[in-house]
């Protein structure tokens, strides 16, 4: 087998893995958009905030310690404990639920029946608030996150492929774990929305508010639930990205990469978010590999957006977006 093809296969696989992470962020967008029609610009910051909180809780960091120290001249930074990863994840989830409740209570309950653009603006405000709030609460330094996920080259794959092609593929264990977790998450979400009472209520709310009210569904409950779910997805994404490249504020920018994913997959489709993520991941890696060297590289910065642009022109509802049914 020619070397080029073998390299391309490795690039393809790595692209798939990178795509999983894009898909995870996009998934959070889809959940909220489906249920409330809000395009949540803060989804990326939510992932950052979740990761920050997780590290903070795990390491026993005192929240707002800089603020407290500056005001009272104290020197406290740590509670002095280290919590097990699982406990910290559960506690962080509780914080995300609380956040979901607060966001609904303090922001969106006051914006009922407003134009989508107003709601979108509100989420931009929320994003910047949470970025600053996360900074004050946990500090702006880059933090290491280690919840015990395996990392580094997968030797089994390396050796097997070496046996086959005489060239070992470099696949990161963390990427494999992320893929498995994302797959479980998506299956769980699909089962939840298709078969449970709360999931059906969620789809009902997404479809028509008035009708949902008339069959006895509390809009508030569903919205808090959906934001909590999005918070959970953000936490998972935050853990993956944080483990990979450290918890840092540039994490919030991955939200921007989720945009082209959504244009491809459609804003309303959970499977669409996954396929869109994988396509972007694979597409940008393969493009960089094949065309990149000819035009000076760095194509990963713009490839996804150009692809999204093409989709906007030729298939605006995305690959999996709901068909626009209209009786004429």
């Amino acid at each position: 087998m020619p070397d080029q093809l073998i390299y391309a296969m490795e690039v393809f696989l790595n692209g798939l893995m990178a795509g999983v992470l894009y898909a995870l962020v996009a998934l959070g967008f889809v959940l909220i958009y489906k249920a409330s029609g809000i395009f949540n610009y803060a989804q990326g910051v939510m992932a950052l905030f979740a990761a920050l909180t997780l590290v903070g809780i795990m390491e026993g960091q005192v929240p707002f310690s800089h603020l407290i120290n500056a005001m009272f001249g104290t020197e406290i930074h740590h509670f002095g404990w280290h919590l097990p990863a699982l406990v910290s994840i559960l506690l962080t989830m509780a914080v995300m639920v609380l956040l979901a409740w607060a966001v609904n209570k303090l922001i969106f309950n006051h914006l009922v029946n407003q134009e989508p653009i107003i709601l979108f603006m509100a989420t931009i405000g929320l994003a910047y608030f949470m970025e600053g709030f996360g900074d004050i609460m946990w500090g702006a330094d880059i933090k290491k996150l280690d919840v015990g996920l395996p990392q580094g080259i997968n030797t089994a794959i390396d050796e097997t492929t070496y046996g086959w092609f005489g060239y070992g593929f470099f696949i990161d264990n963390l990427d494999i774990v992320a893929t498995v977790i994302a797959a479980i998450l998506v299956i769980a979400l699909v089962i939840f929305s298709q078969y449970t009472k709360q999931g059906r209520a969620m789809r009902a709310v997404a479809d028509d508010h008035q009708a949902a009210l008339s069959v006895g569904i509390s809009l508030n409950f569903i919205w808090v639930m959906v934001w909590s779910l999005a918070g959970f997805v953000a936490l998972v994404a935050g853990i993956m990205w944080g483990t990979k490249s450290g918890v840092q504020f540039s994490l919030s920018l991955i939200a921007l990469k989720a945009l082209p994913v959504l244009m491809l997959g459609g804003f309303t489709s959970i499977p669409g978010a996954i396929v869109g993520g994988l396509l972007i991941g694979v597409g940008e890696k393969l493009f960089e590999f094949s065309v990149g060297p000819l035009i000076g590289g760095a194509t990963e910065n713009w490839f996804a957006y150009v692809l999204a642009l093409l989709f906007l022109v030729f298939r605006p509802q995305g690959l999996f977006g709901e068909k626009i049914i209209e009786r004429v």
Binding site: A188, F192, K197, Q210, A211, A212, S214, G216, L219, I325
Partner: protein, 273 residues
């Protein structure tokens, strides 16, 4: 007419009408400076078909929205099943067993007819979401039971052939029927119909009238409906409230209403001098 304390009456066609199920006491509803409803009182008895009629803009829909909790009146009390109902959100009212349809149809357009009607059963699902997700024992039995009930309603309203069709594809008349099916699926104590015949042709109107009568007869459902087509209402209902400019101008049996001078004036117009 009838005293609120009595035990009901028997209609000419032999249906038994029970005691008072819902009573509106001196309801006044304002939007800013505009009075939509002024000091209106009436009751709805168990098992009866009660109509609220009036010309356009008379405040009929506002009244229905007060009953179903979409509007909260500034003055007056709503009594339901013998107790005063505190101000409530629409979804809480629905959970009390008051189902409704809408004048401009509120269906889940992206779902099939069957899924739409199933949403009417959401409040009857008591197993927890893990059981439902795993489709285990009780959850499965519950789903089957609810599904059977829904199929019964679908048969009853003769919409079997469109069970799997997405609602957005249906013509107007059928959508109205699906909406009725969803409301019925909730086994309501009180069914509110907001202009069930609006925008229908004669044949569709006849169908809908028949369904309303059958529902009342078969399930004993109490029905309150709004309509401005006077002819239809007179044939359907046991008692009628007539509204005009937000005030009650008549209340009684269809025969009483036909001979009520204020009602005739409101409908035919009268010269004010």
């Amino acid at each position: 007419m009838l005293d609120a304390s009595d035990e009901g009456y028997v209609t000419e066609d032999g249906r038994r009408i029970g005691g008072v199920l819902m009573e509106m006491k001196n309801i006044t509803l304002r939007f800013g400076g505009v009075k939509a409803i002024t000091d209106i009182s009436f009751d709805i008895r168990e098992g009866e078909i009660r109509a609220i009629i009036g010309p356009n803009g008379a405040g009929k829909s506002s009244m229905l929205n007060v009953i179903s909790g979409f509007y909260v009146p500034q003055e007056g009390e709503v009594w339901y099943k013998g107790a005063k109902r505190p101000p409530m959100k629409p979804y809480q009212v629905a959970q009390l067993g008051i189902a409704r349809t809408f004048q401009n149809i509120a269906l889940f357009e992206g779902m099939t007819v069957l899924d739409n009607v199933m949403t009417g059963r959401l409040n009857y699902m008591k197993t927890n979401m893990f059981q439902q997700a795993l489709w285990k024992g009780k959850a499965e039995a519950e789903e089957v039971e609810n599904r059977e009930f829904v199929e019964k309603i679908i048969d009853f309203l003769e919409i079997q052939s469109i069970r799997k069709t997405p609602v957005a594809r249906l013509p107007y008349g059928l959508k109205k029927r699906v909406e009725l099916a969803r409301a019925l699926a909730a086994e309501p104590s009180l069914l509110l119909l907001d202009e069930p015949m609006a925008g229908m042709n004669v044949e569709e109107k006849e169908d809908m009238s028949r369904f309303i009568l059958d529902v009342n007869d078969e399930f004993g459902t109490t029905i309150a409906l709004i309509e401005h087509d006077m002819g239809v209402v007179m044939d359907l209902s046991d008692r009628v409230v007539v509204m005009d400019y937000g005030k009650k101008i008549g209340d009684g049996t269809p025969d009483d209403i036909r001979s009520n001078q204020a009602v005739i004036d409101a409908y035919l117009g009268v010269a004010h001098d």
